[in-house]
């Protein structure tokens, strides 16, 4: 989860998110360099005592400041497209979980074997135990195994919602009448939080998502979901 006043991205829990963080660092560095260059040029322009009333043309400079941005854009686009195609790769999932958005809670269905269906409501402030996170903790978490490709099928029963878990690099809209698929593989165990990311009414801010990722051996022992 994010800590207070956090500005940067959360630590990655999936390989795709690791790639996204690296790309973000790369793009941000390009942005900083360009901003610094422009501010420096502006500073020099504003603080010089030299004057020139005879500016005509500057073909070479114009060529450079056309070609160079084009190259910079290509250097940003190539990693971006690489990651885009990486997210679309066909990976053979081992588990399918359905996530259905309602106003204002999520329903999770584990139906590969038998049927486990439960609702996940945010814990109201009065029901919080010491140490629980306000507006983030839920009554029933989504328990999943690590190091296993998991397929999430996301839809909605009423209005638009969006199922997001930033640390996994996931955000998929829950659209009524549509069954959106997203896949991920978590690399480390832990409890990871996300929040509904599409405005859906009065309690849009109060329908969080909590994933509890555990080792596969423990997951295989059977339903140990806590209430």
């Amino acid at each position: 989860m994010a800590h207070a006043a956090q500005v940067g991205l959360q630590d990655a829990t999936s390989p795709i998110m690791e790639e996204l963080i690296t790309f973000h660092d790369h793009a941000l560095m390009v942005i900083f360099l360009i901003c610094f260059l422009v501010l420096y040029a502006l500073f020099l322009t504003l603080t010089t005592k030299l004057t020139n009333t005879n500016i005509s043309d500057a073909q070479e400079m114009e060529t450079v400041w056309t070609i160079l941005p084009a190259i910079i854009l290509v250097l940003i686009a190539l990693p971006s497209l690489r990651i885009l195609y990486m997210t679309d790769e066909v990976n053979d999932p081992s588990l399918t979980i359905k996530s259905i958005g309602h106003q204002w809670y999520w329903t999770y269905e584990y139906t590969d074997y038998g049927g486990l269906i439960f609702n996940s409501y945010m814990l109201p402030p009065l029901f919080l135990e010491p140490g629980d996170l306000r507006l983030l903790d839920v009554d029933n978490r989504v328990v999943l195994p690590i190091e296993t490709p998991i397929r999430m099928m996301i839809t909605s029963q009423d209005v638009l919602h969006s199922w997001a878990v930033p640390t996994l690099g996931l955000k998929t809209d829950a659209i009524p009448g549509r069954l959106n698929q997203t896949t991920f593989t978590a690399t480390r165990p832990g409890v990871y939080y996300g929040q509904c990311s599409e405005i859906c009414g009065a309690n849009h801010s109060f329908m969080p998502i909590v994933l509890e990722l555990i080792p596969l051996k423990i997951f295989e022992m059977g339903p140990v979901f806590t209430l």
Binding site: T96, T111, D112, G114
Partner: protein
């Protein structure tokens, strides 16, 4: 329908519907619906021919894994009432 215990996988082996190249895009609603239709068509054809419906269980497992259960229940209700829109 499949017995729940029969569906328990051997330890270490989990299986879920594989990638279906007929439905490569993000919206898998057609995948879910097509397998639902295929299951009922398979049941109907094999029952009519007096054969075992065991091979149809594949389609059952796929749509059971992919489709939200509320949709499945509503479709089953429509089939029972004879108002299901799909061609079975």
């Amino acid at each position: 329908m499949l017995d729940v215990e029969a569906q328990e996988p051997p330890k270490g082996k989990w299986s879920t519907p594989p990638f279906d190249p007929r439905f490569p895009s993000q919206n898998q609603i057609r995948n879910c619906y097509q397998n639902f239709l295929d299951y009922h068509r398979c049941l109907k054809t094999r029952t009519r021919r007096g054969k075992s419906t065991q091979p149809c269980e594949y389609y059952f497992r796929v749509y059971h894994s992919l489709c939200p259960i509320s949709w499945v229940e509503s479709w089953n209700e429509q089939i029972k009432n004879g108002i299901f829109a799909g061609k079975i």
